[in-house]
Each structure stands twice: as C-alpha cells, then as structure tokens.
C-alpha cells in the first residue's frame, strides 16, 4: 500500500461534484461515481457520466429520493444491463417518484460485472483503493453539518460508528503533518481519507472532505462496497 493516493490527480477519473439538493439520493450519486471512476480507469481516462436519475427512478421501489442503499444502485445497474448517460437521462432531483425511463434510451454508456463488499479493515480498504480505484462507503454524517475544511477527527461520542446514514465516494488517502507543540517534540502525522461528497462544489473542500484514517471514524468500515467493471486484472497505479 502506498503512503498516499489521490484519484483526483488523475485526469478524467472523477466526474464533477454533484449536488443532490433535496433528494436523498447520496447512495445513487456514490454508486454512479464509483462506476464512472472504475470505467475511466479501465478504459484509460475515457470518462463517462452515468445517469443518477436512472438509479433513482428505476430501483425496485421507484422512490429513490426518499433514501436507498448503494447495493440497490448496483442491483439496478445489473438489472438494466448498464446505465445511460447523464446527458440522456438528466438529474431532476425532485421528491416525486417518476416512471423509469431507462428503456426509452437503450444506449448504455457503462455497465458492471458485479459488486463486492470489502473487509472491515482500513489497511485492506486503502490497498484496494490504491490498486483498483475509488469505492463507496457509508458513514455517520453528523459532523458534516458544520464542516468547512481540514481533517475531521471523530470520536465514538460525537460520531457513532454504529449508525451510518450517508454514502460517499472514497477517492484516496494520505497523511497530514501536524506541527509539534514544542521544538523538542517530533512532528506528528494524521492519516486521513479523502472523500467525495454530493452537496455541491461550494461545500467543504471544493465538494470533498477529509476524515481521520485508522480509527473507523464515523463507521467508515461498515459498508465499503464497490462495483466491478471487469474481472480482477493487474493492479492500477493511483497518483500519490
């Protein structure tokens, strides 16, 4: 596992930051971001933007703006034999359930082989992100309400890891050097995850945030899930 990895640095891997607005579709946005990133990595930065609205409208319950799970998005993708483009099936982000319009446009721009859940182990998760690409995670979002920038250091008291309620895309990791309190003390480093949120680019660090790594902060290891766009082949290289 490398010391750092940041898929934002590889052009074309990550789509622009989305804004879910009043639609509780973080699960669909995270899944779409995962598929887009893996597709771009597999096809060497030939980027696609898939339809989040298709995931919202075409799930089993057809009311994706009231909430959902990442694995439901992947099941919908498998059932629909892929996803159409964002351009062909644009995001409306309203609460009213719409009829699934996936069949109207048959031109799928990305599809998946299956999806997997990774181990509850932050080292294994880092290794996977560095060698395969971004994954989805579901965290407790309590501390995000007032977040502006920097590395969130959560505790079990202010961010219960057993209660997770917000899905995001994990796009990398690194370490932040912290100045020592006195010249005699060595500088400390805080390891962190880099996560892509779906609340617009004006929120957080241009739409991203960082969360302390190695302590199961906010329950980040509870549901580490990723699609697979191909059979496992040789590892890819994440920009440090």
């Amino acid at each position: 596992t490398p010391a750092s990895c940041d898929w934002r640095k590889k052009l074309g891997v990550l789509s622009p930051i989305r804004n879910q607005g009043n639609c509780k579709c973080c699960w669909a946005v995270a899944a779409a971001g995962n598929i887009e990133a893996l597709w771009a990595i597999k096809y060497d930065s030939k980027s696609v933007e898939v339809s989040v609205q298709e995931l919202v409208d075409c799930g089993r319950c057809g009311n994706g703006c009231t909430g959902g799970w990442v694995w439901e998005a992947f099941i919908t993708t498998l059932n629909n034999s892929g996803l159409v483009s964002e351009e062909n099936y644009p995001f409306k982000g309203n609460y009213k359930p719409q009829r699934c319009q996936a069949k109207r446009s048959k031109e799928k721009v990305a599809w998946i082989q299956d999806f997997i859940m990774l181990p509850e182990d932050e080292n294994a998760i880092a290794r996977h992100v560095a060698t395969q690409g971004p994954i989805t995670v579901t965290i407790n979002m309590q501390l995000l309400q007032h977040y502006k920038s920097g590395v969130i250091k959560a505790t079990d008291t202010n961010c219960d890891p057993r209660y997770v309620d917000h899905s995001v895309l994990l796009v990398g990791f690194g370490k932040k050097q912290v100045a020592a309190s006195s010249p005699r003390r060595p500088t400390r480093a805080t390891p962190y995850w880099i996560l892509k949120n779906s609340w617009g680019a004006d929120w957080g660090e241009q739409g991203y945030f960082r969360l302390q790594r190695g302590k199961n902060s906010c329950g980040i290891t509870k549901y580490p899930i990723t699609a697979r766009v191909d059979k496992p082949v040789k590892p890819v290289s994440c920009p440090p």
Partner: protein, 102 residues
C-alpha cells in the same frame, strides 16, 4: 452575544449581522418574524457547536457557517439521511477465489 468574524479582522460582528450575511450567501428567507427568530436561535446554537468542534480539533479541521447552519440536527438528518431506520444487519461472506467456496 456577539461573534468574532474569522475573515473580517478584529471587529466583533453582532450575531444578527452574521446571520444576515448567512441569509444573503445562501439565499434564505423566512416566512414570518417567529420563524426568523427560531432560525436565528438555531443558528446561534450551531455556531456555538461549530466553535466547540473547532476547539476539539485543535486546528486540524475548520468548522463554522455552512449552508446547513440554520437547521437543527434533526432537520439536517432528515434532509440528507439516505434511509430511515438505520442500517440493516448484514453478514459478510469471504470468497475464496482459489477454492471457489464461500
């Protein structure tokens, strides 16, 4: 009370002025004076909470006014929570590719 703006130097800004700037930045209007007063109260509570988080983090992260500063914790949860009722219980199966068994 009054709050010191992080960006505009040493002059303390009254809470209402900070709230007015928040309303302008995030295009917020409230239906009546009672609702305005309620949101101002929530905003003050949230600024205090952000300040506590800021202190706990000792400079590692910054917390403050965000688009969600006029919402209670419950409202914020209802706005973005992906599903009600918490997470389902799931068991993990470890797949061995070598032996083809779960």
């Amino acid at each position: 009370g009054s709050f010191r703006s992080q960006d505009s130097g040493p002059q303390p800004l009254e809470l209402k002025e900070v709230f007015r700037l928040f309303q302008i930045q995030y295009n917020r209007t409230y239906s009546d004076p009672a609702e305005y007063a309620r949101r101002l109260d929530i905003f003050a509570h949230n600024l205090a909470q952000a300040q506590r988080l800021q202190e706990q983090h000792e400079g590692a992260a910054q917390f403050g006014v965000t688009p969600f500063s006029d919402l209670t914790e419950e409202e914020f949860g209802q706005l973005h929570q992906r599903a009600a009722g918490g997470a389902p219980n799931m068991s993990r199966k470890v797949w061995s590719q070598e032996r083809g068994q779960s």
